[in-house]
């Protein structure tokens, strides 16, 4: 299946998660919550009031209708007047009874509203009273004998209450809005100040102050994890930059020495023009100088190759017991020559997977180191054993001067040479290579105190599928 270019994938246009959108969102959510609270309340209030009002109107109409049928128009007029008086001002109920001739008989309205005709069930209407429109709920009908009756209930009666509700709601909304805006601003400020801290620190780092770190967060801080991660990353970057600087300096230094010697030698040859035999001796020495430079380069290239991890593809089954035995046997004559006792204790099969060439070189470097530092009549003990199912331990221990504790971490760095090792042959890449080989095999190199001497322990992890089955 061909890979889709990322550009063709649907792009979600979500707003960015910035402090501003967070603040706006906070306000919006507050208002929505308020509306969800006020909406149903308002709805139930208004339907309830309307229903009660309609029921009242219906029962009034029914009652007055019965009265008229039983006692006649005069009684009805008297009842209406008793209920409403003659003025509609300040009263919620409006009534009007007019005779068949159109003349007012009773009620608190002066004339029949122009837009009301015939019979009607209770419904909301807008009628003109004394030149002013009023909202009313109204029912009217024609009684037997041509009398017309109108009963209405002013909607303005609950206006005050409704106004109080609305104002309350608005006040509430305003308060919520204000609190929300303040809260949002506060959140934004806190977030921006934190981001600001990060950006100030990184700006300083860009400017070259590599030792800068993000301020330590208070416990439970949302950004605690991020801060620790960023600081960890900065530690690593600083370490890498420094080690690159150190390596460059060391390369420059370590190469300059043989190159300077070489140059001097050649220059001397052209200036002094010594006899032939001497000239050839000088040329041989010059070739040795070049070989030293080449050796440093080769060691560096090999380290780079190991660190790139590409060699893992070439892992094959290896018996570490056998490999260690062969390395020990390889160096045994050198040890004998220097009257150093070199012992090896093989402990069964140590089957794993790895790069045999590199493992042999790493072990060889450790043994060469031990040979270099062990005193005359000294001891070197090599062991290879399995710690557990997934770990094999190769140890090379000598009784030389050892490495002081504060230098142990540094001696495995490239080109690091302890003061005590200056003047001995080597370019300071041996332990760095061992350490890189260990990392390639998902292991570590540990330097320990052998009291006296150095105990170099190479831990190598065994891939799960390389463990021989017990069957």
């Amino acid at each position: 299946m061909p890979k889709l270019p990322i550009r063709l994938l649907p792009r979600l246009s979500l707003p960015g998660f910035s402090a501003r959108t967070l603040a706006i969102g906070y306000v919006a959510v507050s208002l929505i919550v308020l509306a969800m609270f006020a909406g149903p309340l308002w709805f139930s209030w208004s339907t309830n009031v309307e229903q009660v009002r309609t029921e009242l109107l219906q029962s009034d109409t029914h009652r007055l209708h019965q009265l008229y049928l039983r006692n006649g128009p005069e009684a009805l007029a008297a009842a209406i007047n008793a209920q409403t008086g003659t003025s509609y001002q300040g009263v919620g109920k409006l009534m009007l009874l007019i005779g068949p001739d159109g003349k007012k008989l009773a009620g608190n309205l002066d004339e029949w509203p122009v837009n009301v005709h015939g019979n009607s069930q209770p419904c909301a209407k807008r009628i003109m009273i004394d030149g002013q429109y009023q909202n009313v709920e109204l029912t009217n009908g024609v009684l037997p004998g041509g009398y017309k009756l109108l009963i209405a209930s002013s909607l303005n009666r609950f206006e005050n209450l409704e106004a109080i509700f609305i104002y309350g709601l608005l006040g509430c909304a305003a308060t919520v809005l204000m609190v929300a805006i303040l809260g949002a601003l506060l959140i934004r400020r806190v977030m921006l100040s934190k981001v600001d801290g990060i950006s100030q620190t990184t700006t300083a780092i860009i400017a070259g102050k590599l030792s800068q770190r993000l301020p330590a967060p208070s416990q439970g801080d949302d950004l605690e994890m991020l801060t620790y991660t960023v600081n960890g990353m900065l530690d690593q970057i600083e370490h890498l930059v420094h080690s690159v600087q150190d390596v460059s300096n060391s390369i420059a230094h370590d190469l300059r020495t043989p190159l300077t010697e070489l140059r001097t030698r050649l220059e001397e040859l052209t200036v002094t023009r010594p006899p032939e035999a001497e000239t050839y001796a000088e040329i041989d020495a010059a070739i040795n100088d070049v070989d030293r430079v080449m050796a440093i380069f080769n060691a560096l290239l090999r380290l780079a190759e190991i660190d790139s991890g590409t060699r893992r593809g070439g892992f094959v089954p290896v018996d570490l017991a056998r490999l260690t035995a062969e390395v020990a046997e390889f160096y045994l004559p050198v040890a004998e020559l220097n009257e150093i006792s070199l012992t090896f204790e093989p402990l069964g099969m140590l089957q794993t997977e790895g790069d045999p060439l590199l493992l042999a070189q790493a072990l060889g470097n450790l043994v060469e180191n031990a040979l270099k530092y062990a005193p005359a009549h000294g001891r070197i003990a090599i062991t290879a054993q399995r710690c557990n199912e997934q770990l094999i331990q190769l140890t090379v221990a000598d009784n030389g001067p050892g490495v002081p504790e504060h230098e142990r971490a540094r001696v495995v760095e490239r080109f690091y040479r302890s003061d005590s090792s200056r003047g001995t042959p080597g370019v300071g890449l041996g332990l760095a290579l061992v350490s890189s080989v260990a990392r390639l095999h998902c292991g570590t190199l540990e330097l320990q105190d052998n009291r006296p001497g150095l105990r170099a322990v190479l831990y190598l992890s065994v891939p799960r599928h390389a463990t021989p089955s017990l069957a």
Binding site: T310, Y331, P333, V334, L337, A360, E368, K372
Partner: protein
């Protein structure tokens, strides 16, 4: 011996051709991949020295592969500045017989070339090797010199066997390291010299002629010539 050198660097070519001619070989030279391919397929050589990165659009390895596909079994020594182990493996897999990394010492090149030429001439399967009264039995691992049996460790036997197979020929320390121990690194100590001197103790001590000689700034040679 007639040799072909495919190498684009003029200085290196001149140096190698001069050295090989002095060693008694005839050398044809091609300085790009196209000419190299042409020479290699149109003439018969005893061995070819092939650089890897060549101008002319043809990689040295391509020439090697082409030769092998057409059934040509001429010994090929690959020269290369690419020194990763993977590069070495690729070079040998494509059909090269040996792989030498640049920069190299001329002695190393000559020694390896002689080993290649010798190997291509060996025909029968031997069961014993001998030189000037020294005989080793490849089946029983018995070592005799002038009728006296010598006791050798297994690794010493392997070392002696390699030297005998390349008798009267210089073998370098690197060749010994690679072929006897199968190690591909430079020991910082003189460990090879110590092994050689131990072997010398066993095979030469108490005999009038010294077979195992040190060749200055090159390596060692097992020889019965005076």
């Amino acid at each position: 011996m007639k040799l072909l050198l495919v190498e684009d660097n003029e200085r290196v070519s001149r140096f190698v051709i001069k050295g090989l001619s002095e060693a008694g070989h005839t050398v044809d030279h091609a300085d790009n991949g196209r000419d190299g391919m042409y020479h290699a397929v149109s003439a018969t050589y005893d061995a070819i020295i092939m650089d890897r990165l060549l101008p002319g659009g043809i990689d040295g390895l391509v020439i090697v592969e082409t030769l092998r596909k057409s059934g040509n079994r001429v010994p090929i020594l690959i020269l290369s500045a690419l020194d990763g182990v993977d590069d070495r493996i690729r070079g040998l897999k494509s059909g090269g017989d040996d792989y030498l990394i640049k920069p190299f010492a001329f002695g190393e090149l000559l020694a390896r070339l002689d080993a290649l030429l010798r190997r291509s001439q060996e025909k029968s399967v031997e069961t014993s090797l001998s030189l000037g009264g020294l005989t080793i039995d490849l089946l029983t691992h018995k070592v005799m010199r002038d009728g006296r049996q010598l006791a050798l460790q297994p690794r010493e036997f392997k070392l002696l066997e390699y030297l005998l197979r390349h008798a009267n020929q210089v073998v370098t320390r690197t060749m010994l390291l690679e072929n006897v121990w199968d190690y591909h690194f430079d020991p910082q100590t003189n460990v090879i010299d110590v092994h050689i001197s131990k072997l010398r103790q066993k095979i030469d001590a108490g005999f009038p002629t010294q077979l195992l000689r040190t060749v200055r700034s090159a390596g060692y040679m097992l020889s019965d010539h005076a």
